[in-house]
Point group: C2
Chain length 296, copies 2
Amino acid sequence: MSTQTEDGEMNQLTHNGTGFPFFSEDTSVEVVNLRMGGSVNPRLKQVMTCLIQHLHAFIKEIELTQEEWELGIDFVTRTGQLCSEERQEFILLSDVLGISMLVDAVNNRHPFGATESTVFGPFHVEGAPHLEMGANISLDAKGEKCLFEGRVIDIEGNPIEGAVIDVWCDNAAGYYDVQQPELQPKWNNRGVFITGADGLYSFYGIKPVSYPIPNDGPVGQLLEKLDRHPYRPAHIHFRVAAKGYRKLITHIFTADSLYIDSDAVFGVKKSLITPFKKCDRSDAVWSAKYNFVLAS
Amino acid sequence: MSTQTEDGEMNQLTHNGTGFPFFSEDTSVEVVNLRMGGSVNPRLKQVMTCLIQHLHAFIKEIELTQEEWELGIDFVTRTGQLCSEERQEFILLSDVLGISMLVDAVNNRHPFGATESTVFGPFHVEGAPHLEMGANISLDAKGEKCLFEGRVIDIEGNPIEGAVIDVWCDNAAGYYDVQQPELQPKWNNRGVFITGADGLYSFYGIKPVSYPIPNDGPVGQLLEKLDRHPYRPAHIHFRVAAKGYRKLITHIFTADSLYIDSDAVFGVKKSLITPFKKCDRSDAVWSAKYNFVLAS
């Protein structure tokens, strides 16, 4: 009926016939994926095929309306438009949807016993000063002084010599030095330490404080609509690398931090929660002990 | 082992205990979705829950690498950065992944017999001139003249009076007037027609020609990597609206067009492919007959 023309002829033409089915709710995944040509990189083909399957399944399952699609287009458009040299709103989106942590989990299935990894985050800077063990990385004299110490060891508990420990942390106000280049000394709360034969490390810093991820953009608006807060629990970042071992990117979290159960980016793992203890030393208010166990 | 501190104490603290599980490959969907608060709009909650399920399933299934994640972040970032008042690269991305057509399909499950819908596209402009039946919408005197005619009818075949037919089409060079405001007359290949009691419509235009979607951005680069061309088969757009009937947004495609089997945006449906016939009339080279059947 729909295809009958004025003179009674049916519009039921056969098309030029590659044998591909027409697009419909039922065939959509097949039609889109069959369109890829013969010279596609095999891994790209695999990734796109799987992505199309899941995106289409989502739309069918939820019966996404035209209006919701428009809201989605508007959201990703504004997210991209906010990105610049200084701001990566799409990484933030990936973080708050648990995607960054999931990619980390899928790519870091460590042997049992090794220290667990967590998100790298956007605040690492290469080239921090190499310091002697026992140095103080807090250069702005703010916050509660804390002694960090422990060992870098292998799965069997043997000390690892020559492990490079790169540390970075926010200051007492909840900002990294790179977020406040005018207000904080360069390399504030950053440093690189190399272990000796005993695998021991120690340095002074401050007890980390929690802070919100940037929430003045589309991702902040999304969090608000999802009735979620934008805070990360207090943590200090470590990158630990040693020849012959898998590089470890992780945090340690203060056990008493607010938001320890509701990290906006889902970075908390139970094994990374560390008791920070009131210190009886004259040179620090807190102490935290943590061993980094590297997988070979 | 990994959580043992220097003084032998285990870091196995219980966290502050809302009962939510920690994030892991196994729990990721649950952990992210449980984070939504109590005041979330129920439909938003439903959509986000489903989206998280499918995005996480995709990452786990394909075991997305850190490097592939970075490529993905870079791709969506560049796609968003290209968006402006004049360019919507994310809609283009939605189009070439079959998402726009799928949303159309999910939202327009017409009763059998009604004319099928297809994508609206980015080139419609409200306010085109109302014209008398038999008028010529091609104002630049280029292309092969074509007579379009047919009827607007209901499912039972009864003519619909007062149906508003809004038509838009590219010119012989493959561009819409809005893409070439300096080169084409305003409202070139556009017009609005209203049916009388007989439901008949007729107007002159040109036989449509195929054209590429904008392919100088990230979406064009993606198509190239997927070994896909950027062309749409030749078509003319119709929006047909009448009181008491569902609004119809569709194209008719020329049956002899290149790319009829490989529309870059998957807009072709078999029932929309129309034979354009060589014409024996003195005032046109081609004629196309198509009835629009509206669902009530």
